[in-house]
């Protein structure tokens, strides 16, 4: 079936990525140097989509301001989901924009266009819905789908048993019946999920499963942004529009060393003797001071790495300053998120939006620093530090 319009769900915060989401939703977090959502749009356009409705919610001004009214000449219509009560609820917000078959895609996960094409090809109008599924060893906390004879037998969120589940890729083609199913399904803990609505559909109709081998990557926790970015670096998905790794308006000093693979966004400046890469993603207008070294890191827009700093296995938000001579020696380290401790994650440090490090500090692997926190010169930084605090040396 050929479809030209899509609904992208980009309203949720993505709370497991806190504190990176304090100023913007997960779809705007960087995969390499561009927002995850931008990659999703690229893949939709590659699959022939020419009209996109975006459901926005949490910090929606940021999404609207980033993309404006078109992306690569494809018109974007924004629908605001004021309260975020699940993926089904999000799709309901777009109901007035939809009167026939619709393609629905999650805006906070990277999906390759082949998955989208496979769903479109499989959806033939005989069934009320088609969903893209992937064969993965670990379903983890995602949606598990039991497939029999090309159709969905059962769909379970976060399955605990060892039946042969496939992974729900979050790419769906739906007939308008989906809306009734969303209304009819009982909310779970006040949330209306698409998974529940699909289960509702299965009661008296058929939902197809389009098994795909396309690339699918998601960031569940902040340090996953490293893996998702490096996967894109390796696969050439970092920038659909230009294949260069150093943007034209970026400046690299003659004596700086760039070790591929890297991607360096517009307006970056890289000073004398700096070493960038391998596996480094520098967002727009990032500054790398002389003799600084950056490896296996994703630094978001307007980050400053001052003279002589060493930055390994690091994720930064926007506007972060890593002071002169600071050392982030890299993982593995134990990371605390809420009440859980994740052991031996490859995270040197996570510095959220506008963290200012005055220089000469050392970061114990696994450190997480909240937004706008200041690290005084010479401090040793460890553990999870909340936002708007001052860390003394």
């Amino acid at each position: 079936m050929s479809l030209t319009s899509a609904v992208v769900l980009a309203g949720g915060e993505g709370s497991r990525l806190r504190p990176l989401t304090s100023n913007r939703p997960k779809p705007l977090l960087p995969a390499a140097t561009r927002p995850i959502l931008e990659h999703v749009f690229d893949q939709l356009i590659a699959a022939g989509i020419t009209d996109i409705t975006v459901v926005v919610g949490y910090k929606h001004n940021r999404v609207q301001a980033h993309f404006g009214s078109t992306y690569r000449n494809v018109p974007l219509t924004y629908v605001v989901q004021e309260q975020q009560l699940g993926s089904g609820h999000a799709l309901l917000a777009a109901e007035s924009e939809i009167d026939e078959t619709v393609l629905v895609v999650n805006g906070d996960q990277f999906v390759e266009s082949t998955i989208i094409s496979d769903v479109l090809a499989a959806h033939n109008g005989d069934s009320v819905g088609t969903l893209g599924v992937l064969t993965k060893l670990q379903i983890g906390s995602y949606g598990g789908v039991l497939v029999g004879d090309g159709t969905v037998a059962e769909i379970v969120e976060n399955p605990q048993d060892d039946r042969p589940y496939q992974l729900n890729a979050g790419v769906y083609a739906f007939e308008p019946e989906i809306f009734d199913a969303i209304y009819e399904a009982d909310p779970q803990a006040g949330e209306y999920s698409l998974t529940d609505a699909i289960s509702e559909l299965l009661d008296d109709s058929e939902v197809q499963a389009a098994i795909s081998e396309g690339t699918w990557v998601d960031a569940t926790y902040p340090w996953d942004l490293l893996d998702i970015s490096f996967e894109l670096l390796g696969s050439g998905h970092t920038d659909e529009q230009c294949a260069v790794t150093v943007a034209e308006s970026a400046t690299v000093h003659d004596s700086a060393v760039i070790r591929e693979p890297v991607v360096i966004a517009p307006d970056c400046e890289i000073g004398a003797g700096a070493v960038v890469g391998p596996y480094a993603c520098l967002g727009e207008n990032t500054t790398v001071g002389s003799n600084a070294a950056i490896e296996r890191s994703v630094l978001d827009a307007d980050t400053r790495v001052e003279t002589g700093a060493t930055v390994i296995d690091c994720v930064t938000g926007v506007g972060v300053t890593i002071g002169p001579g600071t050392t982030i020696p890299g993982g593995p380290g134990d990371v605390r998120v809420g009440d859980r401790v994740f052991e031996d994650e490859a995270l040197g440090a996570l510095l959220s939006d506008r963290v200012t490090d005055d220089g000469g500090s050392t970061y114990v692997p696994g450190t997480v620093v909240g937004s706008e926190t200041t690290i005084e010169a010479g401090a040793t930084v460890r553990g999870t530090i909340s936002e708007n605090t001052e860390v003394r040396s």
Partner: protein, 595 residues
């Protein structure tokens, strides 16, 4: 002030092109709109009010025709009414004319024509034009000659377009009012500015003052005043027509406020280098000037110019700032050493263009600081620097002000040769700091408390003084409430008499002027007025203010740019709660192309 659109050809439906163009032009002026389509006869429809009123007045059947012209009007002669709306026709309805500008000799033309038996239906200066053309047609003159003869008799400023009954050619002429032609594959366009037809073509020809053009489906022929054919270049514009969409915001103004970080990035791109320790503006490579500098500007641009002039003076260059409408090169010393900088968003502001032309005649070097590539200011001045803010649709200037301030910071550095590493670093950090303001502003909550105030006052010193003036202008423009901005020190020399418990005072307290401004806050507080401090030092200032709007520190020159953003948001949210027509405030137009 008004907007013009015209189309002839077969690739699109004439009525549709005109209506699309008029909708895109609405922001230029909108007290009435109309269109004329030529076929066997001449169909003319016009209405007072917004373009939607015209749409409702059109017959259900689409009007057929090969050529048409349309107009949105902002009154200069005669009140808004159906009669005064353009297009205007001659007595026999053989020709319809739309016009932008002012015909200075229209009284005498009208008297002559009335004496000859012509009947006028409107109070407009424009109506003289179709009657002049009608007279010539009466005398057996062919349409093109009739049009040229009529235009030859006009004194003043004009962009004028005429369609004739039974003709597929549109005749146009330009003098001191903007007019641009669009080149399509099977049709051609004309408009007062590019966005009106950008949906259909991005290939344009800029008409010069004194030129005429014959626009027909098969081609465009441009001629000079004597009728000799002129070779013209076709330019391609790179504006995205969809930039004009509101992208989910309730108003263009709010969208444009949120676009400011991006606008700043574009303004600074490849101009500020930390690595090379330099600020360079490519288009000013051949500009040499050691002063004196005179700025000419109006409205918001004037406030940006005040900021720029102060920066230049601090860098040792003599600089003055003039309201363009008050500029008089005869009484102000101007020599060939003088650089006159016209700050104009549209590049078409008539007052600023007048001042620049005067300066040019007096021998000064002229520089246009503008947002619009190919605008009159850009083409007529010796030098041009673009602020690169992208299209701004909201009548109240927001992102263009911020981009003007940033561009003037660059200009001051280029002219003075002062390239402070601190300033360069601060400039590179500015877009993110502006985003920080947008992320955390509490202006919506704060403004909710002051919607019913009698008046609003804005005070600031130094680089914050022009920001105070701009804050008040924004408030006036979109809330229709009384607002005044003062240099903080001036408060006690008079305006303090106006301060009461019902007049909130917004105080800009940043940088090295903070201590003195805190003194002024105390004067205000003693009169019981609520004080809202916009500051980068909330801990220190908070105790003197009833509310604080915080901004990050970006150094003495750039923090005021951030402070201004808080004031934009305050005005926006007050206006939103008063349910004002925020994007199109009453009596105002985006591009003021009349003196």
């Amino acid at each position: 002030m008004c907007g013009i659109i015209g189309y002839t050809g077969t690739e699109n439906d004439v009525q549709e092109v005109l209506m699309t163009g008029l909708s895109g032009l609405e922001y230029r002026g909108y007290d009435s709109a109309g269109l004329a389509i030529a076929n066997g006869s001449l169909a003319v429809h016009k209405r007072e009010g917004e373009v939607s009123a015209l749409e409702n007045a059109l017959p259900e059947m689409t009007l057929d025709g090969l050529a048409g012209i349309g107009h949105t009007r902002w009154s200069t002669h005669g009140p808004p009414s159906d009669e005064n709306a353009h297009p205007h026709t001659d007595c026999e309805s053989r020709v319809a004319v739309v016009h932008n500008g002012i015909i200075e000799n229209y009284q005498s033309l009208r008297e002559d024509l009335t004496a000859d038996g012509h009947e006028f239906n409107s109070d407009t200066d424009t109506e003289a034009i179709p009657h002049l053309i009608g007279s010539a047609l009466e005398a057996g003159v062919a349409p093109e000659q009739a049009f040229r003869q009529a235009v030859d008799r006009l004194e003043g400023s004009y962009a004028v377009a005429a369609v004739f009954q039974g003709e597929e050619t549109i005749y146009v002429a330009r003098n001191e009012s903007p007019l641009v032609l669009g080149v399509g594959d099977d049709g051609h366009y004309l408009a007062s500015d590019v966005p009106a037809f950008l949906e259909y073509t991005d290939r344009v020809i800029y008409l010069e003052d004194g030129q005429f053009a014959r626009v027909s489906p098969s081609g465009i022929i441009v001629t000079d005043e004597q009728g000799a054919v002129v070779d013209t270049a076709i330019d391609t514009v790179d504006w995205d027509p969809e930039d004009a969409g509101k992208s989910g915001y309730d108003h263009y103004m709010l969208k444009e406020i949120h676009e400011q970080p991006t606008a700043l990035r574009k303004c600074l791109r490849e101009r500020v280098s930390e690595l090379e320790h330099e600020i360079t503006v490519e288009e000013l490579a051949t500009l040499e000037c050691s002063g004196p500098v005179q700025f000419v500007a109006c409205g918001t641009s004037y406030h940006a110019a005040l900021y720029g002039a102060r920066l230049l003076r601090e860098n040792g260059i003599s600089a003055q700032c003039f309201l363009a409408s008050e500029y008089d090169a005869q009484s102000i010393p101007v020599s060939d050493e003088t650089l006159v900088v016209g700050v104009t968003q549209s590049g078409e502001t008539a007052d600023t263009m007048g001042a620049l032309r005067m300066a040019n005649q007096a021998g000064a070097t002229t520089l246009a600081l503008t947002n619009v590539v190919g605008s009159s200011a850009a083409r007529e001045c010796d030098h041009v620097m673009y602020i690169r803010a992208g299209p701004e649709i909201g009548v109240a200037a927001t992102k263009t002000f911020v981009s003007q301030q940033a561009a003037l910071t660059l200009l001051s550095s280029v002219l003075s040769g002062a390239e402070s590493p601190t300033l360069i670093k601060q400039l590179r950090g500015l877009p993110e700091k502006l985003q920080h303001v947008l992320d955390e502003s509490t202006a919506q909550e704060v403004s909710a408390e002051f919607v019913d105030a009698d008046a609003y006052f804005f005070i600031g010193r130094g680089y914050n003084a022009p920001v105070a003036l701009e804050g008040a202008l924004k408030m006036k423009e979109i809330t229709y409430k009384h607002a005044e901005g003062f240099a903080a020190g001036e408060l006690k020399h008079g305006p303090l008499a106006l301060v009461t418990e019902q007049t909130p005072v917004f105080a800009l307290v940043t940088g090295d002027t903070a201590a003195k401004t805190i003194g002024n806050i105390k004067e205000v507080e003693a009169r019981g007025a609520p004080v809202i401090a916009v500051t980068d030092r909330p801990a220190e200032v908070g105790q003197y203010a009833s509310h604080v709007l915080e901004v990050p520190t970006a150094g003495p020159y750039l923090t005021p740019i951030l402070a201004n953003v808080q004031l934009q948001l305050v005005s926006y949210w007050v206006a939103a709660q008063l349910d004002r027509s925020i994007d199109k405030p009453r009596n105002l137009a985006k591009s003021v192309t009349v003196d």
